[in-house]
């Protein structure tokens, strides 16, 4: 019961922060509230038991992304950091809540949290949990899954991220005009 | 000069290694060895960046200073709590220009941090030997204006404060 209350409170925090991100007038405040939103998300991950995801979310989402946004704001003119927001289109106002209701309806069919007989928990997770140390000699299960069992997947992901980084660096390189 | 660099390097490496030991929580040979190597490397990179003006700094006196500061924090916290919870909100904020007699940079940093850590006072600006402090009301800045805090800090650095 208290478990559910706490998760509901954290979700309330997330929804408040997310809507406030869109409603404040200055870009900088928007960036702050986005950072806090990220951290609430990290708290929810931690509360659900996914500590590594929470760690990444806290470090990248709340810490690094905020600093990156601020560095971007360094280079904008002061008049650009105030938002002039047109009124939202009618389709958005009507469509987005409908989408939310649909998603909630779909979420009804998900297995309940920590259900031992749900499909993800009977398919391959027991094998990972029991055999990963014998297979890979890595103490952390998540690391062994990411780096050994799904090594190629991780490799290609890293390639994608590096490509994006190189593309950004090329685009932002100062051209001598 | 060489000797001070070496002692500082060893102090840095030891403290970093202690933090590694606490945070890693594994005490088999590979982990401890990695920790030692990393601590030495980080200390090697960073020791040159530190200001080398560690005057007659005494750790023992700091250990006396810390509980005193904690006591002051408790006392002023209770005071601020009373101020915040009283319905009429009796605050009288003011800015204080405070002339310091401390010379070492580390002492100034520690004094500024202690002022900020104590509820009711906050260091706004440091210019040379001149502190600008914002206080919530008269009672909360009494420690500072009477020079008590600075005298204690001077005691840590074995200096004579002449208020």
């Amino acid at each position: 019961m208290t478990y559910a209350i706490n998760i509901a409170l954290l979700l309330l925090l997330i929804v408040t922060a997310a809507s406030a991100t869109f409603l404040v007038k200055e870009l900088m405040s928007s960036v702050f509230i986005l950072g806090s939103y990220s951290f609430f998300l990290a708290l929810v991950w931690a509360w659900l038991g996914a500590v590594d995801v929470a760690f990444v979310e806290a470090v990248i989402g709340a810490g690094l992304a905020t600093v990156l946004f601020l560095v971007t704001l360094f280079d904008t003119a002061p008049k650009d950091s105030r938002l002039r927001r047109p009124p939202p289109p009618l389709a958005g106002v009507l469509g987005l809540p409908l989408l939310g209701v649909l998603l909630l309806f779909a979420a009804n069919d998900l297995p309940s949290l920590g259900d031992p007989s749900s499909p993800p928990n009977v398919h391959i997770s027991p094998y990972y949990l029991q055999q990963s140390y014998a297979d890979t000699l890595t103490p952390n299960v998540v690391t062994s899954v990411l780096m050994d069992y799904r090594g190629f997947d991780t490799l290609i992901e890293t390639v994608v991220i590096f490509t994006a980084g190189i593309a950004c660096a090329l685009l932002l390189k100062e051209t001598k005009s | 000069m060489k000797a001070t660099y070496l002692t500082q390097f060893i102090m840095n490496a030891c403290s970093l290694f202690a933090v590694w030991l606490v945070l890693s929580g594994r005490y088999d040979l590979p982990h401890v060895m990695i920790g030692g190597i990393v601590a030495c490397g980080v200390a090697w990179l960073n020791t040159r960046l530190q200001c080398s003006s560690v005057h007659h700094f005494s750790l023992g006196r700091l250990l006396i200073y810390a509980p005193w500061l904690l006591g002051r924090i408790v006392a002023s916290s209770l005071h601020i709590t009373k101020v915040i919870l009283s319905p009429s909100l009796p605050i009288a904020p003011k800015m204080i220009h405070y002339q310091m007699h401390l010379k070492p940079e580390l002492a100034i940093v520690l004094l500024g941090n202690s002022i900020t850590l104590t509820p009711g006072t906050i260091t706004v600006e440091v210019e040379g030997d001149h502190l600008l402090v914002h206080a919530l009301d008269e009672a909360s800045c009494e420690d500072l204006t009477s020079g008590r805090m600075e005298r204690r800090m001077a005691g840590v650095f074995k200096e004579e404060a002449s208020p």
Partner: protein, 99 residues
């Protein structure tokens, strides 16, 4: 030991609540920073001390104490940086000047 831990945690929660109330009631940035520092110093100290005592002597206690030391070192610096920026930018404190 557990009783002491619970008492410390409750005291910490009390100070955190007072800090939040101060955050709502106090009039400007400079005075609000005092409420935050109240929360940061004594509230966090009592709460984390209580949690450390609850863990008992061991590696977990040391880890929590590391977090506590980090908070005590970093929070004054953050508060000072914020307030100094506010002062330099020209936010006027509602305060009288004293020599």
């Amino acid at each position: 030991m557990d009783i002491l831990a619970v008492v410390l945690i409750v005291i910490g929660l009390f100070f955190l609540t007072v800090g939040a109330i101060g955050m709502l009631r106090l009039p400007d940035v400079f005075t609000r920073s005092h409420a935050v520092s109240l929360t940061d110093s004594l509230g966090a100290f009592c709460l984390l001390m209580g949690l450390a005592l609850y863990q008992g002597v061991g590696i977990n206690m040391l880890k929590i104490l590391v977090v506590l030391a980090l908070l005590f070192l970093l929070n004054p610096v953050i508060a000072h940086a914020t307030i100094r920026a506010a002062y330099r930018v020209g936010v006027k404190p509602k305060a009288e000047e004293h020599p």
